[in-house]
């Protein structure tokens, strides 16, 4: 039964290294508004941690997105993420404003933060949800994949707040902006008794943008181990370019050094849901398909007629990538 003392939905607004609001926040917000309607229109709030003086920069964004309340912690020590500091403040806030639902993006930062907060709040956390809903009893029903995506489990939480994380690109942003007169509430950064025992020494950027091209790509061409070598990936890139697609890879291709980890799709890579996903020489292991089966249309090219990728493809082309693609490119020129 829902607990009357807890009300509203709180979403953690992660800032990227470049100080943008992470796109997963917009996705969570959109879903939260839908959940709020089912809960009779409860408040949808955000919490953000930033360097002193920075909140002004974000006020308009939060207003335009229609966030009811924004709780912010402003302090120079918060400029850089720290699990110790952030979990302490987020826990304090959740204890004070008692939301019934607390949502966090399942980015690496979110996955570092959320379990610590759940442990401190003595509440449950359902990770990597693919669906969030409100059941007839007014509780959060969080569905998440288990066993490498083969079995889905709908999980309820007895304690409050009910916590869930969702990976980027799992929810689509559908609603257009809806301006609200957002209330901004400054919270005291009380870190008494908290020692910071971890320290970032250095950061080496390995991809150009934090906003990965794959997040917004409508067409994705992905290559697997069957592309064999650099030549195969060159051909893949050429194919992608000719149709305006973004390239991605399976883990085996990444492990062979044919593609960077940042473009790996799947359980330990990214989740994408483009309009069209073209899987080239990818067998279709569940650990891969869990990251792309939400694509609107799937085309698979594979020499093995029994490859599992064909089970989830809309169009399966049984054949050799190295024969079909040059032929395709010839026709395009």
């Amino acid at each position: 039964m829902p607990n009357q003392e807890y009300s509203g939905i709180l979403i953690y607004a992660q800032l990227t290294r470049e100080h943008y609001i992470h796109t997963v926040f917009y996705e969570l917000l959109d879903k939260a508004k839908e959940l709020s309607k089912k809960l009779g229109g409860v408040d949808v709030s955000a919490v953000v941690m930033l360097k002193k003086g920075l909140i002004e920069k974000y006020k308009e964004s939060f207003q335009n997105m229609g966030v009811n309340k924004v709780f912010y912690f402003e302090d120079d020590v918060l400029d850089e993420y720290s699990a110790e500091y952030y979990s302490k403040l987020l826990t304090q806030l959740a204890q004070k404003i008692t939301p019934e639902i607390l949502l966090i993006g399942a980015t690496n930062q979110g996955r570092d933060l959320a379990p610590k907060v759940a442990a401190k709040l003595h509440t449950g956390l359902t990770a990597d949800c693919t669906e969030l809903d409100i059941n007839d009893d007014g509780q959060l029903a969080a569905t998440s994949p288990t066993f490498g995506g083969q079995l889905m489990a709908t999980i309820l939480c007895k304690n409050y707040p009910q916590m869930a994380t969702v990976r980027p690109n799992v929810f689509k942003v559908r609603t257009t902006d809806s301006y609200t007169d957002t209330e901004f509430i400054c919270c005291p950064t009380d870190l008494a008794g908290i020692e910071k025992n971890t320290q970032l020494i250095e950061f080496t950027k390995t991809i150009e943008n934090t906003i990965n091209d794959l997040d917004t790509a409508e067409i994705i061409v992905a290559g697997g181990k069957g592309l064999k070598n650099e030549k195969g990936f060159e051909l893949l890139n050429e194919f992608a370019k000719s149709i305006g697609a973004t390239t991605a890879a399976s883990r085996s291709a990444v492990e062979m050094g044919l593609a960077p980890q940042s473009i790996q799709i799947g359980q330990t890579g990214k989740t994408v849901r483009p309009k069209v996903y073209i899987a080239c020489a990818i067998s279709g292991a569940v650990q891969h398909t869990v990251g792309m089966s939400g694509s609107e249309y799937i085309i698979a090219i594979n020499t093995d007629k029994d490859a599992p990728i064909f089970d989830i493809a809309d169009t399966g082309i049984v054949g050799d990538f190295f024969e079909i693609i040059p032929e395709f490119l010839k026709n395009r020129h």
Binding site: N108, R111, A119, M152, K158, I298, I301, R332
Partner: protein, 266 residues
């Protein structure tokens, strides 16, 4: 001397799942394997030991009696001691309850530990939570998504972390917990005398009474979450397979991409 608590788990082999006709997972006859990320965690702990031979590694696992087989395998790789955390009252624990139970076990067996090493994910469900929860209950800092060990001393560890946009190099004061994402070393093979020694070693078993937890703090009762419904994730796409020669296949691809609006007819 560095004292390491290594936390590992046995999982069903998820690459080989069989279904009953009611679309539930067939549990009988499913092979159990060591969680792949825990192999990396083991390698990480052994790497420290190979550089500082007086390092002492105690392996912890929470699970049924059969998990002892896995513990013996890990002992054979060079770990010093193993503990099985096993009690009917632990059954049905979610990540919160599991984290609490394991942290209590570490405190009981190895109160003066320096480092706790876990895998980043488990392949059977709970995604990337347990390690961080253990660290919280032990009141120590954690570092997740660890890729490589750069440097260590008895006071601190320097590791790299694989983030979405690049690599972080992080220093953490000990005692601490690390979750290992990937290792760059080939898994070790057990040495023959390692296997013999491992078979002789006694594996301690901890029950709920040994770690001083109440039944309402662990297992189903102590878990904030519970599974309401589980169902098979069936593919929603209608596979249509074409067996054509390369020219025809290329033409088909062109047609499909045109009808999907990806390309315009050349």
């Amino acid at each position: 001397m560095i004292k390491i608590a290594l936390c590992i788990k046995q999982v069903p082999d998820t690459t080989d799942i069989k279904w009953t006709e009611h679309n539930t997972i067939q549990r009988e006859g499913v092979e159990s394997v060591i969680n792949p990320y825990d192999v990396y965690a083991t390698e990480f702990a052994l790497k420290i030991k190979s550089q500082a031979p007086d390092t002492y590694i105690t392996v912890f696992t929470m699970g049924p009696e059969q998990a002892k087989d896995m513990l013996r395998k890990v002992l054979a790789l060079g770990c010093d001691d193993a503990v099985l955390i096993s009690d009917k009252k632990f059954a049905g624990s979610d990540t919160w309850a599991t984290g609490l139970t394991i942290s209590k076990s570490i405190e009981k067996i190895m109160p003066d530990f320096d480092l706790v090493v876990c895998g980043q994910f488990a392949t059977d469900g709970d995604t990337a939570q347990t390690g961080v929860i253990i660290a919280n209950f032990l009141n120590i800092p954690h570092v997740t998504f660890v890729k490589e060990l750069t440097e260590f001393s008895e006071k601190a560890l320097i590791v790299t972390r694989q983030m979405e946009d690049g690599i972080e190099k992080v220093r953490v004061n000990l005692p601490a917990l690390v979750c290992i994402m990937k290792s760059d070393f080939e898994p070790k093979r057990a040495l023959i005398n390692g296997i013999i020694e491992a078979d002789r070693k006694e594996i301690k078993t901890l029950t709920i009474n040994d770690i001083g937890l109440k039944p309402e703090q662990t297992g189903i009762k102590g878990s904030p979450t519970f599974v309401k419904r589980a169902f098979r994730n069936l593919p929603s796409h209608n596979a249509q397979k074409y067996f054509l020669d390369p020219t025809e296949s290329a033409k088909l691809l062109e047609e499909k991409l045109t009808s999907l609006g990806v390309i315009k007819n050349a």
